[in-house]
Subunit: 220 residues, 2 copies
């Protein structure tokens, strides 16, 4: 069985010891995928930002805080990974500087300088080999579903992914959500609204099927 | 018995629908104080930022997200409050503008304009009457304990508080912590390291004693 690398949760981008930029990702979908992959017989490495969840039994978890730490942990785990699920809601930007301690209260307006974080999944996918890469696309501009799919497809192509899972920001913290999956071959799969565990199990089976096809094609 | 208003948890200051500035406050100390005040026979209003805790049974809770929402909720609750515990780790600043939705990913550095939030406890203490106000001071620059107490005492005086509880940032998320309490009369009380429930019960008894003294002094 293949080894599965899953990123999950938010990242925290600290301004100082106390304050940070983050988002409301609970990590539930990533943890559900890690559990589903383990249940399917895979070895699983879960690289996770801060969440209130307990890692699934049998899964190797690596706890990180920031996007840079998450990238470093993923790079260490990539060599033995066959399937990569990038589920973490990684902060796009981090403060340019992190101050030591908690600066004294400052009652004036100020400008916080932010710099872009690396795109973790795109960075890992540059050394793709025969790995299967699955990305997630959170899109709050969901008024037009076909434009949303178009944006996700461009993201899939730009990052070199095999599959991308599209949901809107109502999925953050939600128990149930409906997702659409796009593949690199141009197909769409619309999943019904269901809990994250059911969606996770389905996504793991889809990724496993892709990986098996790729391994079979590579065989002499 | 007096009515007790408690603020708890972090606040979230949104940049857009998804991203926000916050801190790692769990809300545990504020919730413990609300529970202890209820156990002591007080009516309790708990104004709380986002946490993973369940409000104590018998306590009226008001869920808020941002510092401005917390201030508005406290102002509504203040009229019937006799003792105010400001335990929330309120964000000092918020983004000047909140964008609708989640803006598309932006790969360039940028400056985030931040403006100061109101000081909730100082703002409430301007209409003090015979209320007892208890503040908390989180101080990460804890190398020098006497300088730390000095800063806390200035904060107590500037905000018009009766008591201030000093702990260092190791208390954020910790199960046990040692705190020092300063009062407006110039006294210090050093509590031993103990769990937050024990500290909370002690602080509630101290505030109740101050409130009873004040009520007695005001009687003819």
């Amino acid at each position: 069985m293949p080894t599965v690398l899953v990123t999950a949760g938010p990242t925290r981008e600290h301004l100082d010891e106390v304050r940070f930029l983050t988002n409301a990702s609970t990590g539930r979908m990533g943890y559900a995928i890690a559990a589903a992959a383990h249940a399917a017989g895979c070895e699983v490495v879960l690289v996770t930002g801060p969440t209130h969840l307990t890692p699934p039994a049998g899964v190797t978890d690596v706890q990180v805080v920031s996007a840079l730490e998450m990238l470093a942990a993923c790079e260490r785990a990539l060599a033995r990974a066959d399937i990569v699920f990038g589920v973490a809601a990684v902060a796009d930007h981090r403060p340019r500087a992190r101050h030591a301690g908690k600066p004294a209260k400052n009652d004036a307006p100020y400008s916080l300088e932010l710099v872009p974080n690396p795109d973790i999944l795109a960075s890992l996918a540059r050394v793709k080999g025969r790995r299967v890469f699955v990305g997630f696309s959170l899109d709050a501009q969901a008024a037009d579903a076909s434009a949303q799919r178009e944006r996700a497809r461009r993201k899939l192509e730009r990052k070199g992914l095999d599959l991308i899972v599209v949901n809107d920001s109502s999925a953050l913290g939600a128990e149930r959500s409906a997702v659409t999956v796009l593949d690199a071959g141009g197909h769409d799969y619309a999943l019904p609204p269901q809990d994250k565990e059911a969606t996770a199990a389905w996504l793991v089976q889809l990724a496993l099927a892709r990986w098996r096809t790729r391994v079979d094609e590579a065989s002499p």
